[in-house]
């Protein structure tokens, strides 16, 4: 089944936040933010701005009836700064005017004085000054300290990966409207409707029941709208509570890029030790996460870095420590992969480093250390259902790694100004929110008396096709025409207390809840049919809209059965609740079984380097991916392709730049470049691995949102390898992204100092 939204998308009829028809009297909000990365506000003069015709009100911290606090994990972030500013772009006030344009004009007239304080943008500097969001965490397995002496080879180094702008094409925004009795309805472009509801209630000082949040769909999220869609929605609601008029806040692209957090930049140290037969015996690493000025989701992101620090390899002795470092950048936040990619980049760097020193192909080192069933992850979970070796074999049989390598060597020895490189990037990614309580979901199903079905879940549609999967599940259980099922908007009054659509697990959690609700309704209907037909309910089946007894068709249609049940006063509505079984994690011991299952895969990336100009083209990426039993190939393959390119962007051209004053330099689409159609690999081949699937996954179809992003890491190491064949003296710096600048400097490193 194709994405159910696609027809609306190609005709421009799909509704996004900015497309909601405006109610008369709607006012527009523009955020006034700090121009300075760290300091104390000594004065703000709004008088000139307020004098502009059409400016209705400027809301500041003084207007907040409840708590001026929007922190999710840790209460350390004000909605509007009261005295201290901690990053450029930190909201100070909301200008509400009759139009956006008037509000923008007014913003220019606000005069602010800030007494500057010391600005820190480097996570290592923050760590040295003990500026940490939370105390450091360490994951340990075995005993690294006593392992080094038994290692035949030890390598140490540093690996850094930069941040990444989400660049959802639809910017952040919300539209709040007043309802009766002080209730407020918020339409928000958010991945986390409950977060919006909870924080709005907190800031307004009202009960959550007074705040309704509704999401039809969002124009891309990628994690950037998990927690950071909240402030704008709260501001709009605050405007409503003060003015009793509808208020819309949609960020301009410049404001969005400046005010919101990104993927976390990381700086890391590693030490890796091998036995004589090139088994990794010990691995130590320290991660310095650049959290920005407030916690946001950084502690959870940091945890996933630790969970995925050893990627797809079994290492008996591991010690990984992570610091969440407080700097004067906008609070960094969730981004597809959620810290996992940053952890994997470090071990892949360590392996590349070792391979070069040992003079062997990196992929041999990788293959020699793959995780197998029964191995223990550093966090205590025992690996089960591991597909890495079969994936590797599949890659070898389908694409012949050996001959690719040989052809590449031959090409490189016969060419001087172009060079080829390739890399292999295995991925092992755990599925579940690592905070166990978040692994729950609910779904509300109505069967209407005409037999059509309405489905509400906590899942937010953001292009990942979750609504299509939900519709498939309902149609699959009831065995009716999918056209008879409607997916409702995501709304906190229908499905409450939801987890955000994140962690790749939205379809699993909401789908399992939906499946339970549908099954319960189905059982009720079967009982009703059995009573009517005088048979046992276990002999009843439904398919193609008809009732069958012992596989024989009856005259009873789905519609008749539904109406019959209604007349018998049988409940045709059901709420399903699902909580992932088995999972647990003890943060004191840093051990447990945090993941329902893992997703495995392997990418082979081939690149050609223009050694004259220092530019590159990706020839091909070949992927073997573990979908389980995919319930929707077109949706799932789309996630792999899209995730891959997003990861490649992070590793290549996406060059996030802050200066030492904490100002974002790459603050527009003309200075921050994401892949265009010409920069993607010429071919992307995806081979689904044949497996039996995993029962913890919805319909045995494994989660697919985040894991493919990490295939993109292969791009970095393919370029790295190609450079080495041009400049054998090149010492890898492991400093992603590999921009054209870094490539040219690496090719001609020795000539630059002239």
């Amino acid at each position: 089944m194709k994405n159910i939204d696609s027809k609306g998308h190609v005709t421009g009829k799909s509704i996004y936040l900015d497309d909601i028809p405006l109610i008369q009297g709607t006012q527009f909000g523009v955020v006034f933010d700090s121009p300075i990365a760290h300091g104390t506000i000594t004065s703000v003069d709004y008088s000139k701005a307020l004098a502009i015709p059409g400016v209705i009100k400027i809301i500041t911290h003084e207007d907040i009836p409840g708590e001026n606090q929007i922190g999710g994990i840790i209460p350390d972030e004000q909605l509007f700064s009261s005295t201290e500013v901690h990053f450029v772009g930190q909201p100070i006030a909301l200008i509400i005017a009759e139009s956006d344009q008037i509000a923008f004009e007014a913003r220019k007239c606000i005069e602010i004085k800030i007494s500057k304080k010391n600005i820190i943008v480097d996570p290592r500097e923050a760590q040295q000054k003990d500026l940490l969001i939370i105390p450091p965490r360490t994951f340990e397995l075995g005993d690294t300290e006593n392992s080094w002496e038994n290692c035949a080879h030890i390598f140490e180094g540093q690996a850094d990966s930069n941040g990444q702008e989400h660049l959802y094409i639809e910017t952040q925004g919300a539209y709040a409207i007043p309802m009766e009795n002080g209730h407020i309805r918020i339409s928000s472009s958010t991945q986390g409707p409950t977060a919006v509801q909870r924080i709005t209630a907190r800031v307004l000082g009202v009960g959550m029941h007074k705040i309704e949040v509704d999401v039809v769909r969002i124009g891309g999220g990628f994690g950037g709208k998990e927690d950071q869609a909240t402030p704008w929605a709260v501001m709009a609601a605050l405007g409503v509570s003060i003015l009793n008029l509808p208020v819309k806040v949609v960020l301009s692209r410049l404001d969005d890029m400046r005010m919101t957090g990104k993927r976390h930049p990381y700086s890391s140290d590693y030490k890796i030790g091998f036995s004589k037969d090139l088994k990794v015996m010990a691995y130590e690493t320290t991660f310095y996460q650049n959290a920005g000025a407030a916690a946001d989701l950084s502690p959870a992101v940091m945890a996933r870095t630790l969970f995925h620090g050893t990627n797809s390899y079994f290492i008996p002795n591991v010690k990984m420590t992570a610091y969440s470092c407080k700097t004067n950048l906008p609070p960094n936040t969730a981004f597809r992969g959620f810290g996992g990619p940053q952890g994997m980049f470090v071990i892949e760097s360590a392996l590349s480093h070792a391979a070069k020193e040992l003079g062997i192909s990196k992929h041999k080192l990788q293959k020699n250390n793959l995780l197998i069933n029964g191995d223990e992850f550093p966090y205590g979970q025992i690996a089960d259902g591991v597909e890495l070796n079969s994936i590797w074999q599949e890659m070898e049989s389908k694409f012949d790694i050996g001959s690719i390598e040989k052809e590449m060597d031959e090409f490189n020895s016969s060419h001087t100004d172009v060079k080829k490189g390739f890399s292999l990037m295995p991925v092992t990614f755990g599925i579940s929110f690592t905070k166990t309580p978040m692994n729950q979901a609910r779904a509300l199903v109505h069967i209407y008396t005409d037999g059509s079905v309405g489905v509400s879940t906590g899942a937010v549609e953001m292009g990942q096709g979750v609504n299509t999967k939900m519709l498939q599940i309902a149609a699959h259980v009831f065995l009716i025409d999918p056209k008879r099922v409607k997916l409702e908007s995501t709304n906190t009054t229908r499905v409450a207390n939801t987890s955000p659509s994140a962690a790749s697990s939205t379809a699993d959690l909401n789908g399992k809840a939906l499946q339970k609700a549908c099954n319960t309704l189905l059982e009720r209907l079967k009982t009703c049919a059995a009573d009517h037909l005088g048979v046992s309910s276990k002999d009843i089946t439904l398919k193609n809209g008809m009732v069958y007894t012992n596989e024989n068709p009856t005259d009873l249609t789905w519609e008749q059965l539904v109406m019959m049940a209604f007349l018998k006063r049988i409940c045709l509505t059901e709420n399903g609740h699902y909580a992932t079984p088995k999972i647990n994690f003890d943060m004191k011991k840093e051990k447990g079984h945090p993941f329902a299952y893992h997703v495995y895969g392997l990418a082979l990336t081939q690149v050609t380097l223009d050694c004259i100009r220092g530019t590159y083209d990706f020839d091909a990426v070949k992927i073997v991916h573990d979908f389980g039993k995919t319930m929707n190939p077109s949706v799932d393959f789309g996630q792999v392709e899209g995730g891959l390119i997003q990861g490649m962007g992070w590793m290549t051209m996406e060059d996030l730049r802050y200066n030492n004053d904490g100002q974002l330099m790459s603050n527009t689409l003309s200075t921050y470049k994401i892949p265009d159609i010409y920069s993607v690999p010429k071919t992307v081949t995806i081979e689904p691995l044949e497996t039996n699937g995993n029962d913890m996954a919805i319909l045995k179809s494994k989660a697919v949102g985040e894991p493919p992003l990490m295939y993109g890491i292969g791009a970095y190491f393919a370029i790295d390898q190609a450079i080495k064949s041009f400049n054998p003296n090149f010492n890898s710096t492991f400093d992603a992204p590999f921009t054209h600048e870094k490539v040219l400097m690496a090719l001609y490193g020795s000539l630059v100092s002239e």
Partner: protein, 465 residues
């Protein structure tokens, strides 16, 4: 009063000529399928088509409506996604659905509009051109591979397109709604008079001005070069080519004069901006905005082009290389406009090349660009013009390097020595497009690339190392 055809109906508006087409279609006309992504022409979510009659034939180009002054659509046909919708999906829409070319959907209408422009083009359809039509559309979800597959199917479905009766064929095959065949008549019925907007900021395509000072323009009338000055013709007289400064990059690309004079033109222009931007951006505008990194400035500096500056009373002609006095400081009084550009056509023994590297190869501003025109006679350099952008406060014409090369034997040694002179002529700074060191090294490499590209038998990377 601005009048034009919007989808299937004529519209009149008294909005200022500097207001944006995007805001007009979205907020005045409630055509919500045109999306706002960046408001700087870099994402393509707001792409619409602009059609006009050229020699009696409808010609459609895609533009980013976020950078289109409303005044520039006077007398034209504007098509949004709503104007392409029919009872059933068009083949473009259907292939995008079939290949899952849409995920979150926010960029999708822009892709559909651009791909429809490809179908409407009065040329033989090729897959390459299909991709080129969406080179200004950014998608963050799909990774483009499904869109490539859709483009392949669309190209194939156009195999039987009748080049002479494009519109009728497309209507019959349900690529576009049938009202399109009434558009020529509707356009002819629009009043010919130009709206009165000769005060205000002088504007060509607006592709740079709206990025720089949006809020100073959108509630104003502007002086639109394309409407009021009508200077976009390209002509040859004797051995010289003259083009109106209002010529767009696409005008150049589609000009027979340019493509025969510059065999690599397509390759060069592919490196500059994107299709929608090239459809609007004028060459004169590129010169006059004085960016030290203007791609066409570098291109024409290497042609040793002259520009004519015109005001009410007089004309004067200067070399483009003398136009730039300092950072954003031009030899031009405020009442003068760049009206024409002229240059000597390349001769048999002259060679031209343009090089550019940026963070992203396409649709990006250069880290460094450079162009060269060089004439060789019996392996001696008899004439050369060399330019470089991004390595100083103005677009540079590298006089000393040119002087050095003149009369020298064409050899790797000469080029290496010339690079030393070149390095002394430039003064790059470190910024978001690269460090000063990088830009020096990059210009050296691109300078070498000129010779490796133009004289592959005499130059290799090895010979220059």
């Amino acid at each position: 009063m601005i009048e034009f055809i919007l989808n299937n109906k004529p519209v009149k508006t008294d909005q200022p000529s500097g207001s944006l087409l995007l805001d007009f279609v979205r907020y005045e006309q409630s055509l919500i399928g045109t999306k706002i992504g960046c408001r700087e022409g870099d994402c393509g979510a707001c792409t619409v088509l602009i059609g006009e009659l050229i020699d009696g034939k409808l010609n459609y180009r895609q533009v980013t409506s976020c950078l289109t002054p409303l005044g520039n659509v006077q007398g034209k046909h504007v098509v949004t996604i709503e104007g392409l919708n029919m009872e059933s999906l068009s083949p473009v829409q259907q292939f995008m659905v079939d290949e899952s070319g849409s995920q979150c959907g926010f960029c999708t209408t822009g892709f559909v509009v651009s791909l429809t422009q490809f179908c409407l083009a009065n040329s033989t359809p090729s897959y390459k051109d299909a991709i080129a039509s969406i080179d200004g559309n950014i998608c963050r979800c799909t990774g483009y591979k499904p869109i490539e597959r859709a483009a392949k199917h669309i190209t194939e479905s156009l195999t039987d397109k009748d080049q002479n009766e494009t519109l009728d064929w497309l209507i019959a095959q349900k690529f576009i709604p049938s009202y399109f065949n009434q558009i020529p008549e509707m356009l002819n019925a629009l009043p010919k008079g130009n709206h009165d907007s000769q005060n205000g900021t002088l504007m060509g395509g607006g592709t740079d001005l709206y990025v720089q000072k949006l809020d100073q323009l959108i509630d104003q009338d502007v002086d639109l070069i394309l409407n009021t000055h009508g200077i976009n013709n390209i002509e040859i007289e004797n051995d010289s080519c003259t083009l109106g400064a209002g010529s767009t990059a696409t005008d150049l690309l589609e000009s027979d004069i340019f493509s025969s004079a510059f065999p690599r033109l397509k390759k060069h222009i592919k490196l500059v901006a994107s299709s929608p931007i090239r459809n609007m951006a004028t060459i004169g505008g590129n010169f006059a905005n004085a960016s030290p990194i203007g791609d066409f400035t570098a291109f024409f500096l290497a042609l040793n082009a002259k520009i004519k500056l015109t005001n009410k009373d007089q004309n004067r002609t200067i070399y483009l290389k003398d136009f730039y006095k300092g950072y954003k400081d031009l030899d031009k009084s405020t009442d003068e406009i760049v009206s024409t550009i002229s240059f000597k056509l390349p001769t048999q023994d002259s060679h031209f090349n343009f090089e550019k590297v940026s963070k992203r190869i396409h649709l990006d501003i250069a880290s460094v660009n450079t162009a060269i025109q060089i004439s060789i006679s019996e392996n001696e350099i008899t004439q050369t013009h060399l330019s470089a952008g991004g390595v100083g406060p103005i677009p540079l014409y590298l006089r000393e390097t040119c002087d050095f090369l003149l009369g020298k034997t064409l050899s790797p040694e000469t080029v290496q020595s010339a690079n030393e002179i070149l390095q002394s002529e430039i003064n790059p700074i470190s910024d978001v497009r690269g460090s000063a060191n990088y830009k020096r090294l990059l210009l050296r490499q691109l300078f070498y690339a000129h010779f490796i590209t133009l004289f592959p038998d005499q130059f290799t990377l090895d010979s220059l190392k």
